[in-house]
C-alpha cells in the first residue's frame, strides 16, 4: 500500500515537473511567435510608410510647375500664358 502511494506520488511529481516544463516551453514559443509577428508588422509598417513617402514625392512631382506645363504642352498643345494673358483679380487669394 505504502509502495503504491509512493509510486503515485512519484508519478504526480513527475507529471507536475513535466507540466511546468511544458508550460514554460509553451509560453516561450508563444512569446517567440508573437515577437516574430511584431517584427513582421514593424517591417510591413516601415514598407507602408516608405511607400507613402514615395507616393507623396510622386504627387509632389506631378504637381510641379514643370510637369504640369510640360504635360499641358504635350497633351493639349497649351503653353504658359504671357503676362498680358494673366489677369489677377483683386479678390484673388494669395
Amino acid at each position: 500500500m505504502s509502495r503504491l502511494r509512493r509510486a503515485r506520488r512519484a508519478v504526480f511529481a513527475l507529471a507536475a515537473v513535466l507540466a511546468a516544463l511544458s508550460a514554460v516551453a509553451w509560453r516561450q514559443s508563444t512569446t517567440r511567435e508573437t515577437m516574430e509577428e511584431l517584427d513582421r508588422n514593424d517591417g510591413e509598417l516601415a514598407v507602408v510608410l516608405d511607400e507613402r513617402e514615395d507616393v507623396a514625392h510622386e504627387l509632389m512631382a506631378v504637381e510641379s510647375w514643370g510637369w504640369v506645363a510640360g504635360e499641358a504642352a504635350r497633351r493639349l498643345g497649351m503653353r504658359p500664358p504671357t503676362e498680358r494673358e494673366v489677369i489677377i483679380t483683386s479678390g484673388g487669394a494669395r
Binding site: 517567440r32 510641379s64 510647375w65 506645363a69 497649351m78 503653353r79 489677369i87 483679380t89
Partner: protein, 668 residues
C-alpha cells in the same frame, strides 16, 4: 627458475605501468584543476565577456539626417532607408524563383538576375539601391540577403542641387549640406541584440541601449516652384543665346529671403556661381552711383551733362556710348545707360564718397549667406585707385561682384534703402518637429534715405518702359530695372575679345516690390546685350511664375499694382494656360560689335528696329487700324466692333514688333 624470474619481471612491469598511469591521471587532473582555476578565477572577466558577445551583439543604429524643406514645407532632401540586395548562390534553393523575384520585384534585367545567381559565384551584389517597398517581396527567399542603409534622396532629382549640396560618406559636401552639416547630422544610437546558437538574431530580443538622435530639419526660404521655373528659364536662355553659363537670383527685397538661386556653369546645374563667381557689374552699378549723387545733393534729376556724341576721353581713357547723344539729364543717362553721362556726373563725387557709397551697398564684402565658398568680390580702397578709377567704377569696372551681392544691393533700392543680410534658412526644426526661429530678417545698415529711392525708382521704371530693357516690359505691371553688358575676362585675367556678360537687375512690381531678380548670362552669342538677353529671361520667369499654381507672389497686393488700363473686370478668372496661337518669336536685335566702347559697351536699346509707339487710331475703322498695326509688325487683339475708341497700350506708348495691341471698338 627462469619462468619464476620471468613472472616477477612481468608483475613489476605491470606495477610500474599502473603507477605511471596513475601519475598521468593525476597530472591530467592537476592540469585540469589548474586550467579551470585559471579560467574561473584569472581569466574570468575575459571569458565572461566572450560569452556575452557570443549571445549578444551591440548594433549601431544610424540616425537619420535631417530633412531639407522648401519654404512651404515640401521635401527637397530626405533621408530614406534604401536596401542593397545580395545573393549567396550556394544557399539558393530554387534558382528560377530567385531570378524571377529579382526581375519582378527589382526590375533588373533577366541577364543580370542570371549573373548574380550564378552558382559558380559565392556572393553577388545586385546593382543599384532599392526602396523597402521593392525589396519587401524578396524577404524570406533563401539565399537572398537584404542590407538596409540610410541614403539621401532628392524627390525632385536635380532641383537646386548646387544649393543643396550632397552627402558623401555621411559628410555634407557643398551647399546647405556642408554649411549646416552639424545641424543636419544626427547622433547614432545602439541596440543590444540577443543571438541564438547559430548567431542569428532572436526576434523581439532587442534592447535599446541608446536611441539614435535624428538630425534637425532645415526649412529654407527657397520656393520650390520658383526655383524650378528659374532653373528651366535659365537653361532655356542658355539654349537660345548660346551662353556658356548663367545665374538667376530671386529674392524678397523686404526680408532678404532668397526665393530661388539657380546657376549653370560649365554645363553643370550643380554650380553655385551666383555665390562664388565674381564679374565686373558694368552698367548695373549706375543706380548705386546715382544714389550717392542724389544723397549728397550733387545732382538733381533735371541736371544735364553733355555726353559728347557718345565719346569722351578723360585721364587718358576713352569712354564710349552706343547712343551718340548730346545733352542728357540724369534720368536720360540712366534710361539710355550712357557711360559718358554717368562718368561725368560721378566726377562730382569725391573718391571717398564714391567708395563709401559702393561699400555701403555691400560690394567687396561677403553677404554672409550660409553657403560655402562665398566670394567677397573686389572693391579697392581709394588710396589704391588710379586716376582713371573714378570713371571706371562709375561704369561698373575695376570692381568685381557676385550676382548675389548685386541682388542684395538692388534689394536695398527696392525696399527703400536698407541693405539686408540674405536669408536662406527660414527655420530649424527641433528633433520633435517644433520650429526654432532661425535668423530673423537682419538689417545690415541703411544705405540711403527713402527720399533718394523715391527719386531713383522712376528712372529705373523708365529703363524698362522705354530704355534699354523694354524686352522686360510688362503690359499690366511696372517693373524697375537696369541692364548691363560687360566685357568678360578669361582665365588669364585679360579681357577676351567678343566675350561679354549680360545682366539685368529688376524690381517687381516697381510701386510695391515683392520680388527682386538678378539675371546674369556668361558670354551669350549674337545679341549679347543685357537688354536683349538677360531682360527677357526675367520676363519669362515672371510670366511662368504668374501662372504657377503656388506662387510666392501676393496676388491681392499685385492686383493693386496693375496698370490702370488693364484693370480687369471683377468676374474675370485667373488664366492659367492659354492655347498656343501663332507664336511669334521676337527678333533678336544684333548690334554692331564695333559700337562697343573701349571699356565695354554701354547698353543698347532693346526691341526690334527703330523705336515705335502706338499710333493714334481713335475714330478709325477696325479694318484700317488692323492694317496699320500689322504693317508695324504688331499683333492685334480686337474687342468689340465699329470704330476704334481706344487701344491698350494707349497712343504714344513704346512698343516693339511682336507686341500685342488690344484694339477696343465702339460696339464693345
Amino acid at each position: 627458475m627462469s619462468r619464476g624470474g620471468g613472472g616477477q619481471w612481468t608483475a613489476g612491469r605491470i606495477r610500474i605501468r599502473r603507477r605511471l598511469l596513475l601519475v598521468a591521471w593525476v597530472l591530467v587532473a592537476v592540469v585540469m584543476v589548474v586550467r579551470s582555476a585559471e579560467v574561473q578565477i584569472v581569466e574570468r572577466t575575459a571569458w565572461a565577456r566572450d560569452a556575452v558577445n557570443q549571445h549578444q551583439k551591440t548594433r549601431d543604429v544610424p540616425a537619420p539626417r535631417g530633412r531639407i524643406l522648401d519654404r512651404n514645407g515640401g521635401d527637397l532632401v530626405v533621408s530614406h532607408w534604401r536596401a542593397t540586395v545580395a545573393v549567396a548562390p550556394n544557399e539558393v534553393g530554387d534558382r528560377g524563383a530567385v531570378e524571377a523575384a529579382l526581375v519582378d520585384e527589382l526590375g533588373v534585367r533577366p541577364q543580370t538576375a542570371a549573373r548574380v545567381s550564378d552558382p559558380t559565384r559565392e556572393w553577388s551584389v545586385v546593382p543599384g539601391r532599392y526602396s523597402m517597398t521593392q525589396v519587401a517581396g524578396l524577404r524570406g527567399l533563401r539565399g537572398i540577403h537584404i542590407q538596409g542603409e540610410l541614403r539621401r534622396v532628392y524627390p525632385r532629382e536635380e532641383l537646386a542641387r548646387g544649393l543643396l549640396g550632397v552627402v558623401q560618406d555621411g559628410i555634407g559636401t557643398g551647399g546647405i549640406e556642408q554649411a549646416m552639416d552639424t545641424v543636419l547630422a544626427g547622433r547614432s544610437g545602439s541596440d543590444l541584440v540577443a543571438r541564438d546558437n547559430r548567431g542569428r538574431e532572436i526576434p523581439g530580443q532587442v534592447v535599446t541601449v541608446e536611441p539614435p538622435l535624428p538630425g534637425r530639419d532645415i526649412v529654407l526660404t527657397i520656393d520650390r516652384d520658383l526655383q524650378e521655373i528659374a532653373e528651366e528659364m535659365l537653361a532655356a536662355a542658355l539654349d537660345s543665346t548660346g551662353a556658356r553659363g548663367g545665374d538667376i537670383v530671386v529674392t524678397d527685397p523686404m526680408t532678404g529671403e532668397i526665393m530661388a538661386l539657380a546657376s549653370i556653369a560649365e554645363g553643370s546645374a550643380a554650380a553655385l556661381s551666383a555665390v562664388n563667381t565674381t564679374f565686373e557689374p558694368g552698367s548695373t552699378i549706375k543706380p548705386f552711383i546715382t544714389t550717392a549723387l542724389l544723397r549728397h545733393d550733387l545732382v538733381s534729376p533735371r541736371d544735364s551733362v553733355d555726353t559728347e556724341g557718345g565719346r569722351w576721353e578723360v585721364n587718358g581713357r576713352v569712354i564710349t556710348d552706343i547712343h551718340r547723344g548730346g545733352w542728357m539729364t540724369l534720368p536720360d543717362v540712366i534710361r539710355e545707360s550712357s557711360n559718358v553721362g554717368i562718368a561725368k556726373f560721378a566726377s562730382r563725387l569725391s573718391e571717398g564718397q564714391q567708395y563709401v557709397a559702393l561699400r555701403d551697398f555691400g560690394f567687396g564684402t561677403p553677404t554672409g549667406v550660409p553657403l560655402p565658398g562665398e566670394a567677397a568680390g573686389v572693391l579697392r580702397r581709394p588710396e589704391l585707385w588710379s586716376n582713371q578709377s573714378p570713371q571706371s567704377l562709375a561704369i561698373g569696372y575695376e570692381l568685381s561682384v557676385t550676382p548675389l551681392q548685386m541682388a542684395m544691393a538692388f534689394g536695398a533700392i527696392a525696399n527703400g534703402g536698407l541693405l539686408l543680410e540674405p536669408r536662406l534658412v527660414k527655420e530649424v526644426r527641433d528633433h520633435d518637429g517644433s520650429p526654432e526661429r532661425f535668423g530673423q530678417p537682419r538689417v545690415i545698415r541703411r544705405v540711403v534715405p527713402e527720399s533718394v529711392i523715391r527719386t531713383l525708382t522712376p528712372m529705373l521704371v523708365d529703363v524698362v518702359d522705354s530704355g534699354t530693357a523694354t524686352r522686360a516690359r510688362m503690359a499690366a505691371y511696372q517693373m524697375a530695372g537696369k541692364t548691363a553688358t560687360t566685357r568678360a575676362t578669361g582665365s588669364d585675367g585679360r579681357y577676351e575679345d567678343g566675350a561679354y556678360y549680360a545682366s539685368f537687375g529688376a524690381i517687381f512690381p516697381a510701386d510695391d516690390p515683392q520680388l527682386l531678380f538678378f539675371v546674369r548670362l556668361d558670354r551669350p552669342d549674337g545679341s549679347y546685350y543685357g537688354g536683349a538677353t538677360a531682360a527677357p529671361v526675367t520676363l519669362a520667369t515672371l510670366e511662368a511664375l504668374l501662372s504657377a499654381r503656388q506662387s510666392p507672389i501676393d496676388r491681392v497686393a499685385l492686383a493693386r499694382s496693375q496698370r490702370e488700363h488693364v484693370a480687369p473686370a471683377a468676374a474675370t478668372p485667373l488664366v492659367r494656360f492659354a492655347v498656343a496661337t501663332d507664336p511669334v518669336e521676337p527678333e533678336m536685335w544684333v548690334p554692331d560689335p564695333g559700337d562697343a566702347g573701349a571699356a565695354g559697351p554701354a547698353e543698347a536699346p532693346s526691341g526690334t528696329g527703330p523705336a515705335m509707339s502706338v499710333p493714334d487710331l481713335e475714330g478709325a475703322s477696325l479694318r484700317v487700324a488692323l492694317r496699320r498695326l500689322h504693317k508695324m509688325g504688331l499683333r492685334v487683339r480686337l474687342e468689340g466692333g465699329g470704330t476704334v475708341i481706344a487701344t491698350i497700350p494707349e497712343e504714344g506708348m513704346p512698343v516693339v514688333a511682336g507686341d500685342t495691341i488690344v484694339v477696343v471698338g465702339q460696339g464693345r
